[in-house]
């Protein structure tokens, strides 16, 4: 994996050439012109005189052109093609916790299919009283719930197991999104079909699959299925995007993204797991001795500093600096995030923008007075089960370097005096 790839990325170098003077201080236009007055203030600008766009110009809007770098990106060498592949959410440029759907990451195994509500069918079969078929319209008539959850690909940060490889939070941690879902509890639909033939539910499973060619079938234990799994048709207020499973997807809170089956077409109640391709060949985690863990469903507590970061350098030199990032846990709510600026020697507890919510992204901030010297930035999340996000070294001690999935290690960014940042590992 030494091939260099090219794409459209905001140019750090151009940015720094244009903005940063020696020593990291910024010669801001406003400062230079303060004496004679800033023409942006002293001269009437066109937007303060003429017209802007009419309300009929944009029935459904996109971000303003100045934000064109806040987009999904892919890494060509990661996969054999772009159909069974991944792209990355621009988390380095976002704030808060809700991911805009239009730049929320995609992972498909046979591409993003187009399935209309009219053509949509959901089947429930197996150990049920009456195997059922629902139309999309049927689903909208069941009582609905709303929940915010993160969806993190099991392989998020997977390229970093053997070392620091990709230079940007988008690429190291961007296989994630966080949305507010509206949908029907899966429990409601299972009860509609009737679970009497399943008998004792404690050892029963469901098998879920999508309408696409890959099908992405996965086995889920019945207790999870009856707990908080949602059959969702809205995200962040509107219909799911095509690439996120329109018109219906499964939401499996806290669990690896692969299980969030898109274009959901069938749920089968079974007396055991199917051991499908996506839970044997893939989404199994090989340890150093060659044995592999299976059914590693939960996503453990994790965090990353999104700014400063390699794609979000410090533009302003020394002085007040906002360090911010995201934390999340599949086992519960984030209740603390620590930040280190010296590579883990010392830690300060960051401020959570609001109390952590179970199985959802949490935004943290640490406001510091930066003296302009080199920093080694790290964040360390803790969830309400008492779990503390481990270092990469601590994970490798247990798992080796070939487990591919579930890398929730502490990330280090080297920040240099000129404000640039780089993905590094430290002792």
């Amino acid at each position: 994996m030494t091939e260099s790839v090219k794409g459209k990325v905001p140019s750090r170098r151009a940015f720094l050439k244009g903005a940063v003077a020696a020593g990291g201080a910024v010669a801001g236009a406003g400062m230079v012109r303060a004496a004679e007055g800033d023409p942006l203030i002293t001269e009437v600008q066109p937007w303060a005189s003429g017209f802007g766009e009419g309300v009929d110009a944009t029935p459904y809007g996109l971000p303003i052109r100045f934000e064109s770098d806040v987009v999904r990106r892919n890494v060509e060498w990661l996969t054999a093609d772009t159909i069974s592949s991944i792209n990355f959410t621009p988390i380095h440029a976002l704030d808060g916790t809700i991911t805009p759907q239009g730049c929320a990451f995609e992972r498909h195994h046979s591409g993003a299919i187009e399935l209309s509500k009219q053509d949509y069918r959901l089947m429930i079969n197996g150990l049920v009283d009456t195997p059922l078929v629902f139309t999309y319209a049927d689903l909208e008539r069941f009582p609905r719930e709303n929940h915010v959850y993160f969806c993190e690909c099991a392989a998020n940060t997977g390229m970093e197991w053997a070392g620091a490889q990709l230079n940007g939070a988008q690429f190291t941690h961007g296989m994630i999104h966080n949305m507010e879902y509206s949908g029907v509890p899966l429990r409601t639909l299972l009860e509609e079909a009737g679970l009497d033939p399943a008998g004792d539910l404690s050892d029963k499973w469901i098998y879920v699959e999508g309408a696409d060619a890959s099908s992405n079938g996965r086995s889920i234990p019945m207790d999870k299925a009856l707990d908080d799994v949602l059959v969702a048709f809205k995200a962040n207020g509107e219909a799911l995007r095509k690439e996120h499973g329109y018109p219906v997807r499964l939401v499996v809170p806290g669990w690896e993204g692969n299980m969030w089956v898109k274009w959901l077409r069938r749920v089968e109640v079974m007396d055991g797991p199917v051991e499908s391709r996506e839970e044997t060949s893939k989404y199994t985690d090989t340890l150093a001795d060659g044995t592999s863990r299976k059914w590693t469903w939960e996503m453990d507590a994790k965090s990353v500093i999104t700014s400063p970061s390699p794609q979000s350098p410090i533009p302003h030199g020394a002085g007040p600096l906002v360090i911010t990032g995201l934390a999340w846990s599949g086992r519960g709510a984030i209740d603390r995030v620590d930040v280190s600026i010296d590579g883990g020697e010392n830690w300060q507890t960051a401020r959570l923008a609001k109390p952590g919510e179970a199985k959802a992204l949490t935004r943290f901030y640490l406001d510091i007075e930066w003296d302009g010297s080199e920093m080694l930035l790290q964040s360390r999340a803790m969830d309400d089960t008492g779990y503390v996000q481990p270092t990469k070294e601590a994970l490798r001690e247990v798992r080796g370097e070939n487990s591919i999935y579930h890398n929730n290690c502490i990330q280090t960014w080297l920040v240099t005096p000129n404000g640039e940042a780089e993905n590094v590992e430290v002792s």
Partner: protein, 197 residues
């Protein structure tokens, strides 16, 4: 239908044909396997026709496309090679996945007999069966997969119990900090063309 009376009365009963069309999954104990059979030699012809362009004539893989054979004994190596022969615990998975999701880009064209034949050829390519082998529903469970015992159920809560540490260190946690690896040395991150100029 009376079963609907207890719920919301939404949806309708699925027909047997509808269930048969969509419920294709096969379990490790063979549940779900249809009647049928296929030989290694028939599988070779089908594999060359439908599969070899990506997976190679001998299931060894082409370019970045998955290898389905090889890698035996490599799972503890620095770079494990995970194939049907070296890694997959159950033959049922191979049958199920090929039948439902392959060939890539043209899935669900293979009959049950064709799927048995292709799976037989994949077994032969992994030296698990002889070249005169015929795979059938009846002898399916007789095939021993080399890595059948290679998996453990998620043990993080015990193997990683030490990560549940309510009081992590916050001061003077290390004597020194050294940078041991830098992503810019690899230089494999997508870049702007302007930056390369």
């Amino acid at each position: 239908a009376p079963a609907l009376a207890d719920g919301y009365g939404l949806g309708r009963a699925a027909t047997a044909d509808e269930i048969a069309a969509w419920d294709l999954d096969v379990m490790p104990d063979g549940t779900g396997l249809p009647e049928g059979s296929g030989s290694v030699s028939d599988g070779e012809d089908l594999f060359v026709e439908h599969c070899a362009v990506c997976h190679g004539d001998f299931a060894e893989g082409v370019g970045n496309w998955p290898a389905l054979a090889g890698g035996e004994g490599s799972l503890a190596d620095e770079d494990p090679v995970k194939t049907v022969g070296s890694y997959w615990p159950y033959l049922s998975t191979a049958w199920d996945y090929v039948h439902r999701s392959m060939p890539y880009g043209n899935a669900q064209i293979l009959s049950a007999d064709e799927t048995y034949a292709i799976v037989a050829y994949i077994l032969y390519s992994n030296y698990i069966v002889e070249d005169d082998f015929v795979l059938t529903k009846d002898n399916f469970l007789d095939v021993e997969m080399p890595n059948a015992d290679g998996f453990i159920v998620d043990d993080r809560e015990t193997a990683e119990a030490h990560f549940w540490d309510a009081e992590p260190c916050t001061e003077n946690c290390k004597d020194e900090v050294e940078i041991t690896m830098r992503a810019t040395v690899l230089d494999v991150t997508p870049q702007d063309d302007a930056e390369e100029a």
